[in-house]
């Protein structure tokens, strides 16, 4: 039974035909199954019984003047349960077109996330808090230390995860590279090849000859090696400071990258080797690796072609974090990124983004356990991705055992994005996910880098505040003890201590 009075019904008089020509139209009166509308003595339509409205919007569909607005006063998932307006619309869309929904951005909807975890401050029974304003806090992380010749010395436990050239504009890619140089962190090519300049800019140089060091201290570029192998050659693999083997990503685990034809301009087509205007669909798996043994060999030859200099990373979607992370570590990589279900995308089927994969907070504990079981925790670095919004989420991920975190969607937003979810269309009005020169002209890489830098700076400060108020002077000292789960469910899936109970739930070893 529908909740009474759950919808606000309004008829815009300037658009209503009946309001202008009384007696000429009474469509809403006729079609409403609950007599919400009635004609008064003068033949004027009035909303006489809005409490009876169930939010079906038949009136709105039939109204010739498009004059009716129905707004829910209560969330529709309460008043209409399964059959909300968006659900009905989606079914109509499929019925009309035969096509499923595709969109950009991450999961929209409730998932267990960092919000049900709180940070535990320090008082008297634990080491005293540290003074954020007058004391130092160590935030640097090294990827590949003792494992390759040129490890990445990140100044902050933050990376920009892979976002491909194609999904992002050249300007957005360069803004990320410049910010990485300014903050001493790492950015990533993504699976769409190298944007000319991305590598030396990420290292802090304004020119290809590397004579003009414009941005200090200089950061790093991770070269992604993926299933479509767009724009990949030995020179590409060697152009950066690390190589990342992509297995999957949170928004579409089990599927390959997806770049719609609209975004495949001449320039993108040239990099990827596909005809302009044709969809660039990466395979969902490697055509040159079928087993865990093959992955080991792949990591080995990538090390060989990079002369055993740079770290090799692997990136996982959220599937079976314990077993997957173990397999990655056994393949011999130096760092593993695990992207939770909340992770973002440039384009993915809506149902996959919404309904596939393990939430980020449930990926981190098994990943940490896998590394601990192998004796590799903190040696092979763990990078947590997927729906992280700022320092609070980052702190929680670090305390759960990650060594670093990544911001992709948040970085897009820092560049100006407002999360309209239409990245796949290639018409981003901020020029971030567009290949249209007119729109791209709106994004200046250096200005974008400044916004990104400010965001990363503020986030790093937040991480420091939280680290220090919980009694630490280094992010490497954080532990699960600095967190509590707010509810049973979160305690159950993360193994964190439950507030009030002050212990882990019984099936987690205490």
């Amino acid at each position: 039974m529908a909740v009474v009075g759950a919808f606000c019904v309004s008829v815009m008089k300037n658009a209503c035909i009946n309001a202008q020509y009384p007696g000429k139209c009474a469509t809403c009166v006729e079609v409403c199954p609950y007599q919400v509308y009635a004609l008064d003595g003068d033949g004027q339509v009035s909303v006489q019984n809005f409490n009876a409205c169930v939010g079906c919007r038949i009136c709105a569909e039939f109204c010739p003047g498009n004059a009716i607005r129905i707004n829910s006063a209560e969330p529709e998932y309460i008043t209409r349960a399964l059959w909300t307006f968006p659900t009905v619309e989606e079914i109509h869309h499929k019925a009309l077109t035969g096509q499923y929904l595709l969109r950009g951005f991450g999961t929209m909807g409730p998932l267990p996330h960092f919000d049900s975890i709180v940070v535990v401050p320090s008082q008297i029974s634990s080491p005293a808090p540290r003074d954020k304003y007058r004391e130092e806090c160590k935030t640097d992380v090294v990827i590949g230390e003792g494992r390759c010749d040129k490890p990445l010395h990140l100044k902050l436990p933050i990376v920009f995860p892979a976002m491909s050239f194609g999904a992002l504009s050249r300007e957005a890619k360069l803004a990320l590279a410049i910010c990485a140089a300014q903050m001493g962190i790492a950015t990533n090519t993504g699976e769409g090849g190298l944007v000319p300049g991305e590598n030396y800019m990420a290292n802090g140089y304004a020119d290809a000859e590397r004579t003009d060091k414009k941005w200090e201290p200089g950061g790093y570029l991770v070269m992604q090696w993926s299933t479509g192998r767009w724009g990949v050659s030995v020179d590409y693999v060697r152009a950066g400071d690390a190589v990342e083997v992509k297995i999957g990503q949170g928004a579409k685990p089990g599927m390959g990258g997806h770049l719609l034809g609209k975004k495949v301009t001449e320039e993108i087509a040239a990099v990827r080797g596909v005809p302009p205007g044709s969809d660039a669909l990466s395979p969902c798996r490697y055509y040159d690796a079928q087993t865990a043994d093959d992955m080991k060999r792949m990591v080995a030859f990538l090390r060989d072609v990079t002369d055993y200099q740079v770290p090799i990373l692997m990136k996982l979607g959220p599937s079976r974090p314990y077993a997957d992370v173990k397999a990655c570590a056994e393949a011999g990589v130096d760092a593993i990124s695990i992207d939770g279900a909340a992770g973002g995308t440039g384009a993915s089927p809506d149902i996959v983004t919404q309904g596939v994969g393990i939430p980020t907070i449930a990926c981190i504990p098994p990943a940490v356990r896998a590394l601990k079981d192998l004796g590799l925790h903190r040696k092979v670095k763990l990078i947590a991705l997927g729906g992280l919004r700022g320092g609070l989420d980052a702190f929680k991920a670090l305390a759960m055992g990650a060594d670093a975190v990544g911001f992709a969607s948040a970085a897009e937003i820092a560049l100006g994005c407002r999360a309209c979810m239409a990245c796949h269309k290639g018409e981003c009005v901020y020029g971030i996910t567009s290949q249209n020169p007119r729109l791209r002209a709106r994004l200046d890489p250096e200005e974008g880098a400044t916004r990104l830098r400010n965001f990363i700076h503020a986030t790093a400060e937040e991480i420091k505040i939280l680290t220090m108020l919980s009694g630490h002077t280094s992010i490497h000292d954080l532990s699960e003890e600095d967190l509590r789960a707010l509810d049973l469910n979160t305690a159950a899936i993360t193994g964190l201590k439950l507030i009030g109970y002050e212990k882990r739930l019984p099936w987690w070893d205490n």
Binding site: D288, R297, V305, A422
Partner: protein, 227 residues
């Protein structure tokens, strides 16, 4: 001047040691490499030099090859010539699964047979198999030429987008988005050139040619939200 040593036995070496030894011994002459079957990813990412591998080779031989000439007298494992961009790889024997996947350029010649998924996602290389090939050859073929002198299995050229496939024998089934085309004089001339260049015995006039039905096989299958 005396010729430098041109033979290298990699029997007891691991990949790192073998590739260091190979780089050290690379000179103006062909380098002979023996006992390499246990190594995977040998001769990776080389830009120059000529290498003769005597006997069999393991997986990922010549991956990311960018200019070297590699010959193998025996058979090779999986993914030979993976992601090659330039250069030439000739295998006298047969190749397992995934020969010549993801290449952008260069040439791969296999005198024996090749396994499934050969030449997948070719973006511009020339790949010639003198014997038979398995299933799903030249899947998502984006550019370049694939020549199969013998027979092919199912889904030959599945979802190819551009480029051309030539086959001398039979195939079990044709992939999606492919079309059989009359072979033209230009095609015959091109094949003859290949056959002469790579020393292949075949009659170019009896080959059939497959091309893509459309360059946008996925186009229109997916629309965007609320349009």
């Amino acid at each position: 001047m005396l010729a430098v040593a041109t033979a290298l036995d990699v029997k007891d070496m691991d990949l790192r040691a073998a590739s260091a030894a190979i780089k050290e011994s690379t000179g103006s002459e062909t380098l002979e490499i023996r006992n390499a079957a246990h190594l995977h990813g040998l001769c990776a990412g080389l830009k120059t030099g000529e290498y003769d591998i005597i006997g069999d080779a393991g997986d990922y031989l010549g991956v990311l090859n960018d200019g070297a000439t590699i010959r193998v007298t025996g058979n090779v494992g999986q993914y030979v010539g993976d992601n090659m961009t330039r250069g030439l790889i000739v295998v006298e024997g047969s190749a397992a699964y995934g020969a010549g996947v993801y290449p952008y350029g260069g040439a791969l010649v296999i005198r024996g047979n090749a396994g499934d998924f050969t030449a997948t996602m070719n973006k511009g290389a020339t790949i010639i198999v003198c014997g038979d090939v398995g299933d799903e050859i030249a899947t998502y073929h984006l550019a370049g030429d694939v020549v199969v002198v013998g027979n092919a299995g199912v889904n030959f050229g599945n979802y190819m987008i551009r480029g051309a496939l030539y086959i001398g024998g039979e195939f079990k089934s044709q992939g999606h988005n492919t079309r059989i085309e009359e072979i033209t004089i230009e095609d015959v001339q091109k094949l003859r050139r290949y056959f002469e260049q790579f020393d292949v015995q075949a009659d170019a006039t009896r080959f059939r040619k497959l091309i893509a039905e459309t360059a946008k096989p996925f186009y229109g299958k997916i629309v965007k939200r609320h349009e």
